[in-house]
């Protein structure tokens, strides 16, 4: 059976004035997401995570263009769709939750108007049925007394509540996939936990697939089934969540895991030397080689291709894949 969403060899570039500068923000990204699955997309800022998401919903900045590749949603290639067709897909089949809820909510419309909109357009609900649906959606994201809260405007809600409302809007069109781009970065830790648990519950109830974009490996450990680590526009490693945490193969993944403080452990943290590279002037060979601790001559010249990890994902690295190098946990 075909996966729900299959992204194959996606390349999205940003073009500068008269094509003088080309930024390869997404450069040959492939992954697939099944129904009911949570897929994590991890990486530092500027690695292309967000451009990947914007490519999927086809809401790219005017300077960006999908150069090649395909994005198949239930077998249909979204790259070939017109914007008019995309409007019928966004909100109904793919929904998004963005980082800053205040930026996704319109301050001039009531919560009711904003949650009702997808159901009004995509499911043609009207009157009492629509009202009932909005109430259900708000109750599902645990908004206390939804009947009263519906009349409120975004500024009357707290940060955690606003993000719940965004969650309700994402659910309103009963989508198959929700793309959550750093949805909890602006929330406090205890509210973050509530929100993550809520998303999991909604997923269990509706078997919607989640694409979780984050730089926080803790969120990945808590939420995801499968994880892709992005670096300089490419997926450098993709594995099941346990595979990634216990048998990570790519030096970048290992370095990321070693750089996070663990509770109650005082050992020295490992910082990755250097900076993430400039995407318009990538180093030759493997993009990570200037920062890599295990760099070899080959890495400086030849770009590593994607090696399969016997059925459980893949890695882009020249280091030999054997069990010794993977001794972790």
């Amino acid at each position: 059976m075909a996966p729900l969403l299959r992204v194959s060899d996606l390349r999205t570039y940003y073009f500068g004035f008269r094509g003088t500068r080309v930024v390869k923000a997404v450069d040959g990204v492939s992954f697939s997401v099944e129904a009911g699955e949570t897929f994590g997309l991890v990486g530092e800022s500027g690695c292309g995570k967000t451009t990947t998401c914007h490519s999927i919903v086809r809401l790219l900045a005017p300077s960006a263009r999908i150069v090649s590749g395909s994005i198949e949603l239930e077998g249909e290639d979204l790259v070939k769709k017109s914007q008019a067709e995309m409007r019928r897909i966004r909100g109904r089949r793919i929904a998004s939750i963005l980082q800053d809820p205040m930026a996704s909510l319109d301050p001039l419309f009531s919560i009711y108007d904003q949650v009702a909109e997808p159901a009004y357009y995509h499911q043609a609900l009207r009157g009492q049925t629509l009202r009932q649906r909005v109430k259900e959606l708000l109750a599902a994201v645990r908004i206390p007394s939804p009947e009263r809260r519906m009349k409120d405007f975004p500024h009357q809600l707290s940060g955690g509540m606003r993000q719940r409302v965004v969650g309700a809007i994402a659910q309103a069109g009963s989508p198959r996939i929700i793309i959550a781009d750093e949805p909890t970065t602006n929330l406090d830790v205890t509210i973050q936990l509530q929100y993550l648990n809520l998303l999991k519950e909604l997923q269990r109830a509706t078997s919607v697939a989640l694409i979780f974009v984050t730089h926080n490996l803790g969120i990945v450990a808590k939420m995801c089934d499968k994880v892709a680590v992005m670096y300089a526009g490419k997926i450098v490693e993709m594995q099941s969540v346990r595979g990634l945490f216990y048998r990570s193969r790519h030096p970048y993944t290992k370095a990321l895991l070693d750089s996070i403080p663990k509770l109650g452990v005082k050992e020295r943290l490992y910082g990755i030397p250097g900076q993430p590279p400039d995407l318009s002037a990538l180093p030759a060979g493997c993009s990570f080689h200037p920062r890599c601790q295990q760099v070899m001559d080959r890495c400086r010249i030849e770009e590593p291709w994607q090696h399969d990890l016997n059925g459980d994902g893949n890695v882009r690295c020249w280091l030999p894949i054997d069990e010794e190098t993977a001794g972790r946990g």
Partner: protein, 322 residues
């Protein structure tokens, strides 16, 4: 018995709210409501709490940028409220700050050398050769090349800018640096660098830190002592490792439960707090945490628990423990 570098006692800061000019105020926000802690020379106190709990007000009070409503701050044994103008200036030289966002805390119109030199020029009479020598030394200390002094902040990445902010804070030989969420705005791989840099600097110079953050794991990593704050009050103060091993206050427990796991199979006590932090304008009666507390008792809604010592060096404000 060595005296602590900083000794904060029953510190309070209340802000009047509402009421236009000449109007009556509608109430007070008790942003900081009677907190006490000490920081020893060369040590770090971590201050954790969610947004709006009073962490930043505390830092402003310590920096003498706000005047406390009540309570005292003693630095090197002297109450800072009673310092003369000259002594207060000296206090400000010795207590410096690094802010969260290195993009807004460095002037885009000044060269890095001038940014770092500004505090020492304000506080000390130095020749330009001395200033230059010290800027070079500071840049090396934070791991940047000396020729960085000629550049502007926009030529640096977020992590490098935070290094510049640290260099500026250390330029007047500060004894205490207030670090207000110094790594929250940075990428994960850069955070580790800044944390280890701060640790190395402390080992070399013996400077003390007040490390304010909401990431419990990072706070516990950097600091010897950790204080947990909720709605203007400290609810638990303990040795960082002890706190991680056995959090006592229900709020601390919940924070640990909410902190994200370091691997997928990490066991977690599931304490999901219901509701949100109540408004500081109208805090609940009794223990301010009781409406969200999973272990709430009848007493909690009537009487606010005081911070009392449950074992040496460990203070908890909860009726469960006294």
């Amino acid at each position: 018995m060595d005296r602590p570098l900083l000794d904060v006692r029953d510190l309070q800061k209340h802000f009047p709210v509402g009421g236009a000019l000449f109007g009556k105020t509608r109430g007070v926000v008790k942003a900081v409501d009677g907190i006490s802690f000490t920081i020893k020379s060369g040590e770090t106190l971590g201050l954790v709490g969610e947004s709006g709990c009073g962490k930043t007000t505390t830092s402003k009070l310590v920096l003498a940028a706000e005047e406390p409503t009540a309570g005292t701050i003693e630095f090197e044994g002297r109450n800072i409220a009673e310092l003369s103008r000259a002594d207060l200036q000296d206090y400000r030289r010795k207590v410096q700050v690094v802010f969260q966002d290195p993009y807004s805390s460095l002037s885009p119109r000044m060269r890095v050398g001038d940014i770092i030199a500004e505090p020492m020029k304000a506080h000390e009479a130095l020749s330009s050769a001395e200033v230059r020598a010290r800027v070079t030394e500071l840049l090396e200390l934070v791991g940047l090349r000396p020729d960085a002094a000629r550049l502007f902040p926009h030529e640096f990445s977020g992590g490098q800018r935070q290094r510049l902010a640290i260099a500026r804070a250390l330029s007047t030989k500060a004894r205490l640096v207030v670090l207000d969420e110094p790594v929250s705005a940075l990428d994960v791989s850069i955070r580790a660098h800044i944390i280890t840099l701060l640790e190395d600097i402390q080992a070399r110079l013996g400077v003390s830190y007040l490390f304010i953050a909401h990431d419990l794991a990072a706070v516990a990593h950097v600091s010897q002592q950790t204080a947990v704050m909720y709605l203007g009050k400290l609810v638990e103060v303990a040795d960082s490792l002890e706190l991680c091993a056995s959090p006592l206050h229900p709020y601390t427990k919940a924070l640990f439960a909410a902190s994200l796991p370091s691997h997928p199979d990490e066991p977690r006590e599931e304490i999901v707090l219901s509701g949100e932090v109540p408004s500081a304008l109208n805090p609940p009666r009794g223990c301010s945490f009781h409406p969200r507390c999973p272990f709430v008792m009848p007493r909690c809604s009537e009487q606010a628990p005081g911070l009392s010592e449950v074992s040496p060096g460990r203070r908890v404000a909860c009726h469960l423990y006294n």
